[in-house]
Every structure is written in C-alpha cells, then in structure tokens.
Amino acid sequence: MPREITYREAVREAMIGAMRENEEVFLMGEDVGVYGGAFGVSRGMVEEFGEDRVVDTPISEAGYVGLCTGAALMGMRPIAEIQFSDFITHCMDQLVNQAAKIRYMFGGEGTVPMVVRTPGGAGTGAAAQHSQSLEAWFVHVPGLKVVMPSTPYDAKGLLLSAIDDPNTVLFYEHKLLYNRKGDVPEESYRVPIGEARVSREGGDVTVVTAGLMHHYVLEAAQALADGGIEAEVVDLRTLSPMDDAAVRRSVEKTGKLVVVEEDVKTAGWGAEVVSRIVEGESFYALDRAPARVAGADVPIPYNRDLEAHVRPTPEKVIDAVRSLLDARAGVYA
C-alpha cells in the first residue's frame, strides 16, 4: 500500500525489515542505540532489537568497521553506520585493503557482505570536515559497490538489495535528503544495484545525476521545460557498478550530455560518466561537447554564503544546459 514517508523512515524501515527477517543482520555505529543516530535514522530500533543487535560503539571507526568486516566474513550481515561520511577516512584500510580484497584473494572462499551506511554532502553549514562528498574514492576501488539513492523508495529498495549482496556496499545517504518524503510501499521489495532510472523524459539534453543532486536537476528540468528545453534526467542510483548503458541510450537520443554531481569536479565520478560516453561508439552520438556541473575544487567553507557559492544549484544546472545548447557554444574568443 503506497504511503508517504521520509527518506530517514525508509532507511529505518529497510533495516527493521531485514533484521526481523534475518537474525544475522545487525547495526553498529556511534550513537545508533539509545540516541537513535546522529540524524535519528535508527530511532526506536534499540528498543525492539536490544543492545546486542543495535550496537553503540566508541569513537573508533577503524575498529568497528574492522569488526564488521570480520563478522561478515564469518557469515553475518553487518550494517555499519559512519556518522558523517568524512570520518570514513579512518577506515580506509579496512574498506580498501580488507573488505574489498578478501573475496578476490581467497578465490571466493570468503565474502564480506557488509553495508556501510553514511551521510555525505554539504549544505548544512557543517564546515569542511563534515560536508564532503567522497564517494568517488570508492568508485575507484574494484571489489566495492557504491549506491547513492535519491528517493525514499530507492533508499528502502536499494538498502535491502545491499544487505542481500555478497559484496561490501557503501550506501551513501545525504543530510538534506532525510526529511524528503516520497511514496514507499509497506511491503518488502528490492531495487537492483547497478540500474539507473530515467526519471524524466526529454529529447533535447541528457542530464545524469545521483543523490540529492537529482532533486536539483528535476527542479532545473522543470524550469528549462518552461523555456522550451526538454531535458531527460537519468538518476544513476548506483555509482559502482555504473549503468553507463542507460546513459548511452539517452545520449543516443539527445546528442547532449550534462553531468551534475555534488563532489568536487576534479576526478569526480562525473568524469567517469563523461569518459565512458566519449570513449566508445556513443562518442558519435554527441552533437555538443559534454559538460559537468560539480562542486568547486575547494574544501566546503563554513560561511553559509561561500558554501552556497561552491555547491551545484538548480540555477547552475540551468546555465550549463543553456550554454550547451547555445548556438554559439564553442566560440574560441
């Protein structure tokens, strides 16, 4: 039965559903228990499942992500919550050298079916150490999957798929998504990892995005439509493995590509989207040079005005699309 719930509730519902179905699933992280999580995602869960399955940890990301890696290797289905995705820097060894490699190095004898949930992104005035979008790092590591759902529906469906998945999955939430509402069925369902979704059809330009930016892009697409430009919006939903086939299908139709991502532009995952389109046959579908709208290559400023200045906005998306379609695009002067 469809009903509207928030993104936060959708994530919680997926965790509760999985924990009721499967005793091997547990949640571990800082303040996830009595406090209910820094953003309230696990509120009420310790009351139902007890402290053995909703485990508060010390401030020790490397420790408990390592613990979860070991538990997963032994057949459990851990969900680790990293309070702010910036703190993931502490557990890079566990994630990159252990979780991502074990299945490969042991010839499939062991797997690490772990989910690392973490909120990324800026826009909350939380400054440079609590606002980063570092998801591209993990897109770069074979052996890890990276998902970044933008809607409550996808959050629930993708989290359940991530818990099922025999590989380690980084599950990127966004602080500004938690209160967004959307239709979510009460029953259990799965959204497959690695499948993008065309959330708006159009013939003039393809705009590829994920996470919170998807909402900015939809806003921009509406404004562009008022001006007679029909944008096709592709929500990647999963960054790795990347559904470039979906992007290619759209670009074959429109001939124009804009990627909108919140992480910094240099070596961001948007560069990967563009590369995959320009290096294959789909290059010959392009009628304009592709463009990226991304965060500025700077730490996120604490000052609110500066923070707003360095982040992508619907207006920046509109400008990028307009200048791409401008007849004068590519003038040298």
């Binding site: 001939g255 010959y284 579908a285 007849a327 002067a333």
Partner: protein, 423 residues
C-alpha cells in the same frame, strides 16, 4: 618580445571575419598605424593597422579564409629580434611556458604541437563538425566538407547534416528513374539527380547574405508578424520636393523626405519604436534610430541613421546619402550598422507596387514602401487623379496591436498632407 596582431572584435555580434587582402608580406617593415590587412566582417570591410613598429613575422591566414575574432594574424617583431613563432595564442589562452624559453636548436615538441594547434584554430584548416554530425554524414553518404555549418566558424552540427540531406534528395515528382545522374565536377562526392538538360551550380553565400539568412529565418519563425497596408497620398510631398530641389544642395529624394516624416511621426508612437523583451516586458527607445534598407552587391545591408528624429532636414539629407553610398561600398563602421529602432525599406524605385517586409529584430516594426502610382479618386462628383505610394507596416504583435499600427499610418498620412505639422 614580438607584438601579436589579432582579429579585433568590431561589433557586439561579430564572431569572425574573412581575410580580404594582405597589404604586407612576411618580413615587411611596418610602422604603428600602417594598414596591414583588410578584413571583411558581417557587413563591413575594415583595415587592421599595425599595433607596433617592427617587422611582420609569422603571418598566417590566406586571402579568402574565415578566421575567428581573437585569432592571431601575424606578429610584429623588432628588426633584429630572433623570432620564434609559437607564441600564437587564441584570445584568453596564456602563452605556453615553452614559448618563453630561449629558442634553442631543438624546439621542444610540445611547443611545436601548441603552435600547430594555434595555427589550426586560427586558420580554421579542416572541417569542424560534431561527432554526431560526422556519423550522420557518413551514414548518408554525404561529404562532411560539403555541408554548410551553422555553428561558430561554420562548425557543423547534426541539424546541418540533416538539412543538407533533405536538400540533396531529389524532388518526389521528378522522373527520377529516367533521369541521368549528373556528377558535378567540382563537388565529386555528392551525386545530384536532375531533370535532363539542367544543371545547378553551388556557391557559398556571402557573409552578408549568410547573416541575413540566419536573421530573417529567426525573425520570421519567432516574431509574430502582422501587416497593415494602406495608400499614402503623396501629392503634397512631391510638390515639396520640387520646391526644395531649387533651394537645397544636395536636393532631397523622396526617400529622404519620407525618412524625416517617419522619424518625426514615430516619436508619437512609442510602441512601434520599441522592442519585446522575453518574460513579458517591452523596452521603449527614447531616440529614433532609423534603419534604411539598402541593396548592395553583397546582399541587403541596413545602415542606421542615429537620432533621426532630431536631425534637421539640411543635415538629414546628406547623412542618408552618405550612409547609403558607403553601404554600397561596404565601408560602414560597425556602429553604423547597429542600434536601429525601426526600419524602412523602399523598393518603389524598382517598380514594386507593395510588399511585406520581415521585421529586423529586435525592432518592433518595419515599413515597406512601394512606387508612386497615380490612382483615380471619386471626389465631389468626379474622378480626380491622386498620386499615392503603398505602405505596408509589419509589426511585432507582442508589443503593438493593429490599432497602434493603424494610428501611426494615419498620423504619417496627415503629416505627408500637411508638412508643417512636423515643424
């Protein structure tokens, strides 16, 4: 270090220029201010002067070639300066660091590449087309070089290929099966099916005509035109001209008298001396800058008489004559071709009775004038001859309505009958 000589930007919408003629050779000594090269922009020919004293080095771009604004044309070096070319830049780009290194025997390869790149950009050698355009052309058997590009510097987009493809298809009704395929010798790649005994010649449009083609197409597609046609009685105007012939040197033509009357009358009709602004606004121009359509060998040119509403007749007549003459010679400055607020087009001297003109955007109106005709008018129980010209006003319906245009034409008629009202 050598001074770079670039293609200047002469007008707001200037993007590129044709090289008409080099006036100097490689190695020629020049002084600052000497004319170096003659270029041809959208609507004017222009001589570029040397911007330093020295010797011309690294001259690039051939006569007849199209080059973008900001492209390097040549360098002017000191006579004894050991000149190395790779400093060529496109506007906005910094010189490569290599170029500041001493010019040693082995030129670093990066320098050579950057110089080739600059040369490529400047000289526009080779075809520039989007990947999609290239694929579409290949699939249709079109030579990409034969497709006219609509992008900057003639860049070819997919839409250009699709248009070219439609154009090259034989008309449906032609007896295609029986018709022989005629190969054009100059364009070897594109077979054209033609009726027997006929042939086409393809030639590139002049810059003026290409710009005109784009602008008129856009105006006709985007601006909602409507047309008001009426006869204007000109007996009094013709008498006035006869009188002034004896008194003024140079003598005013009918067009010049009409320019004066129209400019003065427009002042009272701000909606026709305005422009539509996207988002539901209009801008009314305080002055009347009257565009006067002039036919030239290169195509239609519209020189603008700035402040036409304030010029006394004695100043207006020579100013119009001068503008039209220089328009025909292609010698107008960019500022004399822009800023118009209303346009008139007179084809009367070519025997046309009346016609509908396309609005010269972003202006709100254009007045098309026909020849002087003598028509009978039933007056006081008898037919009397009247001399009239047909005037057709094209109006942008977003800023003015039929009644606005009709009132303007009525006031113009009153002024032509009673010339003193304009004083």
């Amino acid at each position: 270090m050598a001074t770079e000589l670039k293609v200047p930007k002469l007008g707001m919408d200037m993007e590129e220029a044709n090289i008409l003629r080099w006036l100097v050779d490689e190695g020629a000594a020049v002084e600052k201010g000497d004319p170096v090269i003659e270029i041809d922009t959208d609507k004017v020919s222009y001589e570029i002067e040397a911007n330093a004293d020295g010797v011309i080095r690294g001259l690039r771009g051939e006569e007849g070639e199209t080059v973008p604004v900001g492209a390097t044309l040549a360098f002017i070096a000191a006579p004894d300066e050991e000149f190395s070319e790779p400093e060529a830049t496109v506007d906005g780009a910094l010189p490569t660091t290599e170029s500041t290194l001493p010019n040693e025997e082995s030129v670093p390869s990066a320098t050579r590449e950057s110089s080739q790149l600059a040369e490529h950009l400047d000289g526009r050698r080779g075809v520039r087309a989007s990947p999609a355009a290239r694929r579409a052309a290949a699939m249709r058997g079109l030579a990409i070089g034969d497709v006219a590009g609509s992008g900057p510097g003639g860049r070819i987009y997919l839409s250009d290929v699709l248009e070219a493809d439609v154009r090259q298809r034989p008309p449906e009704q032609a007896p295609a099966a029986a018709a022989p395929v005629v190969e054009e010798s100059e364009v070897p790649t594109e077979p054209t099916v033609l009726p027997p005994g006929e042939a086409v010649e393809r030639e590139p449009l002049s810059r003026v005509r290409r710009v005109g083609a784009e602008r008129t197409a856009r105006s006709f597609a985007e601006v909602p035109h409507f047309y008001l046609t009426r006869d204007l009685e000109v007996d009094r105007l013709l008498e006035l001209r006869e009188r002034l012939k004896a008194k003024m040197e140079p003598a005013p033509s009918l067009t010049e008298l009409l320019v004066l009357a129209i400019s003065r009358t427009l002042k009272d009709h701000p909606r026709l001396n305005a422009r539509y602004v996207d988002g539901g606004q209009m801008e009314v121009n305080a002055r009347v800058n009257l565009g006067i359509a002039a036919a030239t060998d290169e195509g239609l040119v519209v020189p603008v008489l700035q402040g036409a509403d304030t010029l006394p007749l004695r100043a207006l007549v020579p100013a119009v004559k001068d503008l039209v003459r220089r328009a025909r010679e292609g010698k107008l400055g960019a500022d004399e071709l822009s800023g118009g607020t209303f346009t008139i087009s007179n084809l009367g001297m070519m025997g046309v009775d009346s016609f509908d003109a396309i609005i010269n955007t972003p202006q709100a109106g254009i007045l098309a004038l026909g020849r002087v005709r003598t028509v009978p008018e039933w007056q006081g129980g008898e037919w009397v001859p009247r001399r009239v010209i047909s005037a057709t006003l094209s109006v942008d319906h977003r800023v003015a309505d039929g009644a606005d245009g009709a009132r303007f034409l009525q006031d113009l008629q009153v002024a032509l009958l009673d010339w003193e009202l304009l004083l």
